[in-house]
Amino acid sequence: MTTITVYDAMAQALAEEMRRDARVLMFGEGVATKRAELLAEFGSTRVRNTPLAEGIIAGTAVGAAATGLRPVIDLLFAPFLCYAMDELVNSAGKLRYLSGGQFEFPLVAIAMTGAGWAVGSQHNHNVEAWFAHAPGLKVVMPSNAADFKGLLKSAVRDDNPVLFFVDIGLLYQPGEVPDGETLVPLGQAAIARPGQDVTLVSYAKTVPVCLQAADALAAEGIAAEVIDLRTIKPLDEAMVLASARRTGRVVVVHEASRTCGVGAEVAALVAEHAFDSLKAPVRRVTGPDAPPPASYPLEQAFVPGVDAIAEAVRALVRKLH
């Protein structure tokens, strides 16, 4: 185990995968400037700056992926994905299907999002649910350094287009990363903390918040299980449902806006497939249906906090204890 930041964990993942497979290349606005160590090791053919044009960055990745390369692109902030939706959704997500399976799209598109830098909603907008709703894509959003490394490596090796979301608030968080090859499979959630009274389902920056809430609840005698989804699509339904059936109480927590978010999906799954085990309503603690504001205290208020989560749990437990 070594303790490194999420940023460094991603850098390691990229370097290792580029070393392993000459077809992996990386490009984006400032990639070659900011990832000077990759440029130095792999050269300017495989590590490239681009013009400022997200559409063609993504489209180029999609075209290259279909014809033998394995591109990783950095699209900077999630709202900029709005300029790359056709390429990601209509091309990467659909052209395998529409062609009757003639093409594969092994590519990774990285984007940052989430509160922490007080930059406002044109830089901070959690849109992972859009890509979960679109067919043919995979969506990853890790919560800690080890998973960032292991999931990014798996994403690069996956033969499908993967949206890889980096919660800004985690970027410089240190965490323990295993030495040697670290692969975390896509589509597998993790039990970040076991418990039997209630299940907190979350991902990304709100996982540590849930863990804090679980600590607080433990002091009150409530044992909360915390599930870190890690991959949004494919969603590890089995793990979520097994936990829901065990605890009978579920609170879904994320920073993205509530309506049609990942929390809606998790709640719907639970309400459909774990209904008989439920002892209380399924609750969501999420960001509001508002654009994230820049002002620091407002930005903080946007994100589900320990108190809100703990209070949601208490309400459920009170309800039927």
Binding site: P51, T60, G68, L69, G101, Q102, G136
Partner: protein
């Protein structure tokens, strides 16, 4: 660590992308005419059928056969093609089987895309016709990546990307040209300027007359040529490809042509200026080639009728094949989503 050299990777990936089906040689006048007639007959047959109802409609390129055949005929088997919603010409000129294409249009299992595409996004990877997108501009966004693979994996072929005058209004056209210029990608941008963008005349959408003028700011060489003269198209396309191979840089070839039928079948073309349509009908590329062959090419009317008959027989057989092809199974709804 298990290092893979780019060359080894190229070998590994090559089988998957080098065209593997038989690509016809189109270098004799007769073959060119036959290809153009095949396209025309294919499109008219489907249009007639859809006019009767029950058959999905298509976007025909009637009147644009010289553009498709002219460019495709000078490509090599190593070259790759990207096309769009108006793709029948490009596909048939490249050697696609009209039966499998019709099966695709009808949504049948033997279609090139198992019926999942229908007419609008037919790709035929074994012929090097890749990543067809019916999103106007879609192929322009993908061509750069395909060309990047060609260069990085050391493959010899260039990438021919067909698009319309309308697509040149999408921002992605500009992004594609710029990146291709900066990264020196071997792309032949082929704009079939057919004066129409669905129900809007090109003149309503731009100041000036030439799409090719948009290449210069990116340092991209371009040419504009009569797109209804198959020989002129071939000559211009050959020169363009030579330029790409010599300079290692992209080229934009604009072909001036006209969409003689509507945007999407059926279309009464009520919005089309009758005089303009008539003027272009008089420049029909097939009639022009026929006239040339009769005038000085050593062909008789009988020869041409013979070609017509061959083509019609092929189209009859193709339609029969398509109609005999089974529907996909409902279970196919959930296949081919993920690799």
């Amino acid at each position: 660590m298990n290092p893979v050299s780019p060359a080894a990777a190229a070998r590994a990936a090559a089988s998957a992308t080098t065209p593997s089906a038989v690509i016809p040689r189109l270098d004799q006048p007769e073959a060119l005419l036959e290809a153009m007639l095949l396209i025309r007959a294919y499109e008219l047959r489907l249009s007639a059928r859809s006019a009767q109802g029950g058959t999905p409609s298509t976007c025909t390129a009637v009147g644009q056969e010289a553009a498709a055949v002219g460019v495709v005929s000078v490509l090599t088997a190593d070259d790759l093609i990207l096309t769009n919603h108006r793709s029948a010409g490009h596909l048939l000129a490249r050697g696609a089987d009209p039966g499998r294409m019709m099966a695709e249009v009808l949504g049948r299992r033997d279609g090139y895309c198992k019926g999942k595409s229908g007419s609008l996004h037919i790709s035929v990877r074994e012929l090097g016709v890749v990543l067809t997108s019916t999103i106007v501009g879609g192929e322009l966004s993908l061509a750069t990546g395909v060309a990047l693979s060609q260069t990085m994996l050391g493959r010899p072929g260039i990438v021919a990307c067909f698009f319309g005058d309308g697509a040149a209004g999408e921002g992605i056209f500009h992004e594609s040209l710029n990146l291709a210029a900066v990264w020196k990608l071997p792309i032949l941008y082929v704009c079939e300027n057919n004066e129409w963008q669905a129900f809007v005349h090109r003149r309503e959408t731009m100041v000036g007359e030439r799409i090719a003028a948009r290449a210069a700011p990116y340092g991209i060489a371009s040419a504009t040529v009569d797109g209804n003269d198959v020989d002129a198209v071939r000559t211009a396309a050959r020169a363009a490809i030579d330029s790409i191979r010599d300079s290692g840089e992209p080229f934009l070839l604009e072909l001036l042509t006209y969409r003689l039928r509507g945007h999407f079948e059926p279309d009464d073309q009520a919005y089309v200026n009758a005089a303009e349509l008539a003027a272009w009908q008089a420049r029909d590329p097939i009639e022009r080639l026929k006239a040339r062959l009769l005038a000085g090419g050593g062909f008789t009317t009988g020869d041409l009728n013979g070609i017509d008959a061959r083509v019609n027989a092929r189209i009859d057989a193709a339609m029969a094949f398509a109609e005999a092809s089974p529907w996909p199974d409902t279970s196919d709804l959930l296949t081919d989503i993920y690799a």
